[in-house]
Each structure stands twice: as structure tokens, then as C-alpha cells.
Amino acid sequence: MRRSGKINFLAQGDKYRIYILFVVIFGFMSIFAPKFFSVFNFTTILNAIAMNATVAIGFTVVMICGQLDLSIGTVITFAGCLTLGLQPLLGFPGSIAVAVLGGALVGFLNGILVAKAKINSFIVTLGTMTILQGAIYQYSGGNSISVTTDEAFAISDFLQVSLLPLLTPRILITLILVVAVEFMLRRTRAGRNFYIVGGNRNTAWLAGINTDRYLIGAFVLSSVMAAIGGVVSVLVSTAATLKLGEISLMYVISATIIGGTAMSGGKGGVLRSVIAILSLEMLYTGIILFGLGNEVKIFFAGLILAYVVLYEAYATYRHEKNLGQRPELMKELATRLSTKEKKLLGSRGA
């Protein structure tokens, strides 16, 4: 039932806010930022987001389940280090497999601890994050790992070959993963179940859904996606620095929330998160193109995260405050009432 046209329009605006934001940032940067509007720059931006976009896929699913995964940043670095560190021993197929499986194992551990031991997800992942951080430094000895064989360079070149304008194999991998997971979430029963588990775990259980299995699945997906992001990233750069995934967490969390995935769970989508990542990256690229430094970029990224968390919290706060009240009814009354009565209503904050 439609209550009034205006509210409906606002609700629609909120639903599509990320697409609107995308168009606004794109338009602004195209007009004002020097050298922004070029195929070369767009390819650079798409390459730059390839890793974080892949990571955001899994992170969004975890957040749809109403959980958080703080370990993604270290999983990226972990998988990157394993890929290049084990390459001399196992060759690329072997080392990539070990890296992705290692990621899956971390996710499985997170999931078991959250679902079975019933510990808060951000406490668990804070712990695994610290463990992994130690493991990474222990393994690499604090140095970055690089592989400088012809094979590595060939793979790196291949991943950056331009198949079509704006489309390199690296971007294609991300695109395929996004489409696959988005399809899974929207069209399959398993995908819908993630939303039900996130929306209300008890209801989901009473409806006959194995909630634990979905929680574990979400964490495994998150870590595997983070591992794939790390693997592809180091394959392109042929070097794994220990700072690879350092601030990915910040980018991915803010993008996922901006994309409209609720921290309380049960709402959101992978494509929206990726569009948000793209919008943010355009913003950061614009900052760099305006001639501002990397520090400004980090500062802005932090500020944006703080803003979206605050906005989200404030929206929930307003929602809870207005719960049980009917602002549209009060407004309608206000149009009919005399000015004296309006004043009375106004003092009650209608």
C-alpha cells in the first residue's frame, strides 16, 4: 500500500543511493579532475579495485549473515605471501592451491568458533587476525617476498593484457566472481537462506535452516575471496609486501556499508558493495589527480568509514526513536489543524 508519493520516492532513493552516488562521483570527477576521463585512467581504476572488490564479495556475505570478519586484511597478505613463498617449491598451480586452501581453513576456523563456540564474530576474527599477522611475519622474516622468474613475469603480463577496452583477465576474474555470487544470493535457495539467517537466526532455525552451516559457509567464502584477491594481486605485482592487505579492511567495511548492506544483517548485495568500492576508488583517484598525497587519501578513507558508521548508527537510532510513532500521520494532521494546534504539535517534535 502506498502511503504517500514523497515517502515512496525517498525510500526508492535510499534503495538506489549507491548507484546515484556512483553517477554523482563519476560526473564530478569527469568534469573537474584533470585527466580523469580517459580509457587509460578507467583501466587503472578497475585494476586498482580488482583486489578489494574480490574481498568485498565474501565480506558482504558475512555481513548479510549479521557477522563481521576483521581478518580479511591479514588473509590477503597471508595468501599473497604463501603464493610467492611456496612457488619455488610447488610451482604456481601448487602454491596458489595451498594459498586458497589456507584461506579456506582460516575461514572454517572463524566459522566454527562463531557458530559452534558462539563467540562474537569480531572477537574471533580479531584473534585470528593477530595469529595470522604473527604467522606472516614469522614466515617472511619481515621482508617482502618476490619471484622474478620468466614464468612469473609471463603470468603477470597475461593478467594485464587488454582483452577488450577496460577488460583485462584480472578484471574478468573479479567480474565473474561478482556475477556468480550475486546470482547465488539472488536466485538460489542457499543464497536466500543467507539473508534469512542474517535477518533472524532463531526464525531461520525454526524454519528448518541449518544456521551453523550457513554461518561457517559465509566465513569460508569470505576468507577464500580474500585469499583469491591476495593471490591475483601478487601474481600481477610478482611481489608480496607485508602491507598488501593492510588497509583493505578499512576500504571494504566502508564500501560494504555505503553499498547498503546493514551491519545488523539480513540486507544487502554483492554488486552494490562492488559499485561502492568503485565509487570510493574514483574518489581516491580524484584526490591523487588533484595533486594531493597518499596521506590525504588515507585520511579521507578513515573519515569516510567514520562517517558511514556514524550515519548507519544514527539511522538506527532515529528508527528506534520513531518506532511506534507515525510521522506521516502527524504531518497529515498538521495540514488540517489550526495554527494554534500546529504549535502544540510542533513542540512535540512531530
Binding site: I119, A135, D212, G302, L310
Partner: protein
């Protein structure tokens, strides 16, 4: 009907089980909490004995030497100071303050910058700025109920951005900023001052903080409000407790002790760097959890947190002496953290109480 959906989540059980949960709940008096706190110190003592045994078997040298014991105490002092403040946040049911690392870093920068105006203004200015961060954290988490971990993490990034923006990625040194040598000497003394050539100033501060903290938590009306806010925020709000103010105060306390620790660390390293406080957030949370304070809030003691810091300190020292690197120590700490939280959550649930 339901064969493969796994065990029921909390709250999805039927009425009979809920009634059962009531009978299972056990009253904990002051005696049992004393035993719990004593247990923490018992574990600390166990680790001391372990160190001694390892020394006698020849695995490690010099564990019991006065110098080494002093090292342990010094290390405990810094972690302990952060942990005591942060435990108020944990006690209020808001898990942890992740903005501690850069708060510590920023404190160092501000203090070194202000040293040219004298020692006291520098300290006051530095602590003042960190209190602002605490107020901000407390306001957003208390008033709007933002997820405390994510919000303080965001503040951590913003503060890091501010430091790296304002000081252009540079470290600063106390003697470079045109401040008088006397003032610099005073600043250096923050960490190095020793009473009777033994007890460092940070340790004295820690003991003071523990005594005051324990008093505030158990004997004052604020402590009672905090306990109710931590264990049942809705009930607290309905009974007229200003939970926004209570939560804000707890975050301000955390920022205050982080500032003190930040000053001590900066004085120790004689350099202001944005990574000065790196790792202290997690060390402090681990100490708090090991010390018997549950992450669900409203349970635990400051004395226990001191014991937790002690355990962390002794464990680190033994691991260093055995030759386990700093990074492997991170792994051990992380594993212990998860283990303790897991056991804690499980035991609380088996008592029929809420989950941590």
C-alpha cells in the same frame, strides 16, 4: 522434522528449557569472585614457577635474576595502564577501544610539540587531546549505539590519517623542537624515573590506577551504574540510569590511561611516531579477558585485569628467553585470547547465563 539444522541458537529453545535455565543459574557472591581473582594470580604464579623450573633445567637463563624480574614488571606496567582504562569500556559492555594505538601515538606527538611551552602544559595538552577522542568515542557509541569495535577502528584510522597528514609522515624527536634541555630531561624521566632505584614511575602509576579503578568499580555509585549498564543496558536505561553518560565516561577513562601509556612509550623511545602504540589494543584486551572480565560486560574486577597483565608479561618474557620471536608471540597471544574467550563463553552458557 528437523534432522539436519544443527543445535538451536540461543533463545530458540522452548519454554521448558528456559525454566530449566533459571534453576541452573548460580548465585555468585563476593567470595567466589575473590576466588576467581585469586585464580588469575594463581595462574601468574604458575607461570613464574614454570619460568623458574625452565631456568633450573637449563632451558632458559636468568629468569629469576633481579634485572629480568624488573623487565617483566616494566613491561607489565605499560600494558597494565592501558588495560585498566580499557577494562571500563569492556565492563560497560562495549568490548574494547580499538582507537588506543593511535591515541597513544597522537599523545606523543602533541606532547613533544608542546614541550617548548614547558613540561606541565605539554602533558596537560597531550592528555586533553586524547580525552577529546574519548569523548567522541563515548558520544557516538553511547548515544547512537554504533558498533564499538568498528567505530573505534574508524577513529583509529582517522587519527592515523591526521597524524600522517599533519606531520607529513615524519617522526619527531623531543630535542628537535626548540624546547629547553631541562624540559627534555623531564620528559625522558617519565619512563626512566625510579624510586629507590627500583620502582619505575609507570609501575607507581599503574598501582595507583588499579587501586582507584577497583575502588570506583566496587564502592562508588558510578561503579554500580556501570555494572548495570554493562550487564543489562535496557534495564539500566529504564531504571533511569543515564547510560549515555556512563558509557562516555568509560571511554574517556580508556582514552585517559591510553594517553598516560602513550606518554610513557614516547618517553621510552624518545621519538614521536604514529606506530608508537601499535599492538597495545590487542595486548590490553587479552589481559582484560585473561583477567576474568567477560566481553559481555558487567563482570570482572580491576585486580583481575592487573593479574591478566601480569600473566601476559610473564608469558612474553618466558617466550623471549626461550627464543620465540616477537611475531610467534603474537600467534601464541592470539590463540590464548580465543581459547580464553571460548572457555569463558562456554562456562557462562553452561551456568545458564548470557553468552559472551
Amino acid at each position: 522434522m528437523s534432522d539436519n539444522r544443527g543445535p538451536a541458537p540461543d533463545g530458540a529453545t522452548d519454554g521448558a528449557a528456559t525454566a530449566q535455565a533459571d534453576t541452573r543459574s548460580v548465585k555468585t557472591g563476593s567470595l567466589s569472585s575473590l576466588v576467581n581473582t585469586a585464580g588469575v594470580y594463581g595462574i601468574a604464579l604458575l607461570f613464574l614457577v614454570l619460568g623458574a623450573v625452565l631456568q633450573f633445567t637449563g632451558a632458559i637463563g636468568n629468569f629469576l635474576s633481579p634485572q629480568n624480574l624488573l623487565n617483566i614488571v616494566d613491561a607489565v606496567a605499560l600494558v597494565g595502564i592501558v588495560a585498566v582504562g580499557m577494562s571500563f569500556v569492556t565492563y560497560s559492555g562495549n568490548y574494547a577501544d580499538m582507537s588506543v594505538p593511535t591515541t597513544m601515538g597522537l599523545t606523543g606527538y602533541i606532547c613533544i610539540e608542546l614541550l617548548r611551552y614547558g613540561f606541565i602544559p605539554a602533558i596537560i595538552g597531550a592528555i586533553g587531546v586524547s580525552l577529546l577522542i574519548g569523548v567522541l568515542n563515548g558520544f557516538v557509541v553511547g548515544k547512537f549505539k554504533a558498533n564499538p569495535i568498528i567505530w573505534t577502528l574508524a577513529v583509529n584510522y582517522v587519527t592515523m590519517g591526521i597524524i600522517r597528514l599533519v606531520w607529513v609522515n615524519k617522526q619527531i624527536y623531543p630535542d628537535m623542537k626548540g624546547s629547553s634541555p631541562d624540559v627534555v630531561a623531564l620528559f625522558d624521566a617519565i619512563y626512566r624515573l625510579r624510586f629507590f632505584k627500583l620502582i619505575g614511575l609507570p609501575l607507581v602509576i599503574l598501582i595507583l590506577l588499579v587501586v582507584i579503578g577497583q575502588f570506583v568499580l566496587t564502592k562508588t555509585s558510578f561503579g554500580v551504574k556501570l555494572k548495570l549498564t554493562g550487564s543489562a543496558p535496557k534495564a539500566a536505561k529504564l531504571s533511569g540510569i543515564p547510560i549515555e553518560t556512563v558509557i562516555m565516561t568509560s571511554f574517556v577513562l580508556a582514552a585517559f590511561t591510553a594517553a598516560i601509556a602513550g606518554l610513557a612509550v614516547t618517553s621510552l623511545s624518545r621519538v614521536g611516531a604514529w606506530y608508537n602504540g601499535a599492538g597495545y589494543d590487542f595486548k590490553a584486551v587479552t589481559a582484560i579477558v585473561i583477567g576474568g572480565m567477560t566481553l559481555a560486560g558487567g563482570r570482572g574486577t580491576i585486580l583481575g585485569v592487573l593479574g591478566g597483565s601480569l600473566i601476559i608479561g610473564i608469558l612474553n618474557n618466558i617466550m623471549t628467553l626461550i627464543g620465540i620471536g616477537t611475531f610467534s608471540q603474537d600467534m601464541v597471544r592470539g590463540a590464548i585470547f580465543i581459547l580464553v574467550v571460548g572457555i569463558n563463553a562456554k562456562s557462562l552458557r553452561s551456568l545458564g547465563r548470557d553468552d559472551a
